[in-house]
Symmetry: C2
Subunit: 373 residues, 2 copies
């Protein structure tokens, strides 16, 4: 296994925020980082050049989706996911575990893995740690994720405990079945909202000495305060010198609060999904640009933003495009939302470097919550 | 009325092909030219910069669509269509006539115009020459088209005759109701497939001395040979020093045959529409890249093409995107098809300049019809 190199460059004096650098076979990533999601080997609506142009240094792609379509063999024949989709920077693939549990039908979980039916055509499949590693090695991502069980929220203590047990067992299986030298595998910590089970999972998973750790099973419907508490408690139970990746989290406030609690990596479909539905982040809070209120509003979506969409198009035009189901509308809102988060991460890294992380956070929240759109 | 300046630079020695230059308030257009269609103030899937990047010098937009949504007043308030959609090169708007006849419901035609119901919400509207001119002046295109009646095919001689009569009457009304100095109005010649009625329409419309002429009512379902015959006959009945615009035509062979018969301008949704459905033009004929046959075909769509899509992505990847309903798939096929036609027009202009138009056409057809995809 290729040991993704993580350098911890700085720890914030007053918070848990960290500045780091992740080195992978396809280049270097400054952390904390937000990873745009390219579920089906494409960041929805965007070309790879555009994603790069926003400043993205790493993207995430989904093992479950690519396994079902086009199939791992086609991606391997293409020369791997990077060549297939023409993205030459780092890629992290999830394990497929989360999607198997959340998207597929008629699943049955055993000690070995999960029997499920495809959400596309109902066909029967099995995926466990071995199969997940096989697919991810065929995809050739820089960072593969261990196959885990993400328990729903709310769940009984027993369910969460079984999830922790299976996740640990499967983590070992993943390591046994992984052979690519140019790909790292990150372990995943589960344990629901339970402090003791989180610690148990952290202890078991980190004992396997992965080069990085995902924090799974959060942002699954629980109040944000609970997620923050879990992150807070988890901090001291994770090795300092390994990257920490909070899976599936991507609202501006959660990014800030995650970084504050020591998280180095994030991914989420939220910015791109709400963009396609006509909602954008702005300096002054969320804007539903699809609303009739903006039909004659010729200002940019975010007057403080210098993204391509805000430099060139008005709310009125983008609203028209969205109402008329024109793809350019979704492209412009997607560009804006991803740029917004990537710029926010950049701002956080600068603030940590300059010992001004908390001030930056206060400044961001003051404007973001002002409602002065 | 701004007199769009048309310079006839050269006439081909052996065919009717012409080389020209059209000067408009937003710049110059080399003819013969293909105009990409931006129905709803956007060339579907593309940014204005991308359209320019393909070499497009002028686009078409639709009066009927923009009148219904977002409404001409909003576009006017935005500062006109150019500013609304951020396209600073020439725009031609159609009159709305064709869409009123083909898209709307429950229409009733009178001497004054057409009563119709919106295809969007069933609301009642009226559009005649006066209304069409009002809307197009609000949009502020460089070239407006006269409001005409496009008769379906097949039609009785009487129907076609009435269409010719109305079109002439409305053409006069258009001129009376047009006042913008920075916008030209082109007349439209109707007359169905009937030689005598085409000549009558040409004679009546050209007597009004428009700065350019659309040839309407072709490519409405008739065999191509009939269209070619109509164009051939019409040539000598159109003034030499005015641009000739064959409306709604855009397959590679029709572009070549149109140019051969003296056409200077074309527009069509065909290249962008078939692109979104997964069909592309290639040097060796049409390719349905969506087909299963290309699932493992890692060659570019057109090996001879140097567009962005062909330089960077394989048939297998683009097929995957299309099958997975990913927008990038439609973007890449659209880019390719528009580039293909724009490059074909460029090749035709060069060939006319070099007295090699017929050789170029033979060369194109030999490869295009070879089926060697």
């Amino acid at each position: 296994m290729y040991d993704v190199k993580f350098e911890l460059l700085k720890r914030d004096r007053w918070t848990g925020a960290r500045l780091g650098r992740l080195t992978t076979p396809h280049g270097t990533v400054e952390t904390p980082v937000f990873m745009p999601v390219g579920t089906q080997a494409t960041v929805k609506t965007m070309t790879p050049e555009e994603v790069k142009g926003l400043g993205a240094e790493i993207i995430l792609s989904n093992t479950y989706h690519l396994y079902l379509r086009p199939g791992a063999d086609i991606v391997r024949e293409a020369g791997g996911l990077h060549r297939f989709m023409n993205w030459d920077k780092p890629i992290l693939t999830d394990s497929g575990g989360f999607q198997v549990f959340s998207l597929s039908d008629l699943r049955q979980i055993t000690e070995e893995g999960v029997y499920f039916r495809s959400h596309l055509d109902g066909s029967k499949h099995f995926m466990g740690p071995k199969e997940s590693m096989e697919v991810q090695q065929a995809l050739g991502s820089d960072i593969a994720m261990a196959f885990d069980e993400c328990v729903a929220y709310p769940a009984s203590r027993e369910e969460v405990e079984v999830g922790v047990w299976r996740t640990s067992k499967w983590a070992e299986e993943c390591l046994k079945n992984h052979h690519r030298k140019d790909q790292a595998v990150f372990g995943i910590i589960q344990g629901g909202m339970d402090k003791e089970l989180r610690r148990r999972s952290a202890s078991e998973i980190t004992s396997l000495d992965f080069p990085g750790y995902g924090i799974g099973g959060l942002s699954v419907g629980e109040p944000k305060e609970i997620m923050y508490r879990v992150l807070e408690d988890l901090q001291e139970h994770l090795p300092e010198n390994k990257p920490r990746y909070l899976m599936g989290v991507g609202s501006p406030d959660c990014l800030i609060e995650g970084v504050k609690r020591g998280v180095d990596m994030f991914d989420c479909v939220l910015p791109t999904r709400i963009a396609r539905n006509g909602t954008v982040f702005t300096t002054y809070g969320r804007l539903v640009v699809r609303n009739a209120a903006y039909a004659r509003d010729f200002r940019p979506m975010d007057p403080e933003c210098d993204c391509y969409a805000c430099r060139n198009f008005s709310r009125a035009y983008i609203r028209h495009l969205l109402k008329a189901d024109e793809i350019l509308g979704m492209r412009l809102t997607t560009i804006h939302n991803l740029y917004f988060l990537i710029k926010l991460m950049h701002r956080m890294r600068e603030a940590i470097a300059n010992d001004q992380f908390e001030e930056m956070a206060v400044d961001f929240y003051t404007r973001y919550n002002s409602g002065k759109i």
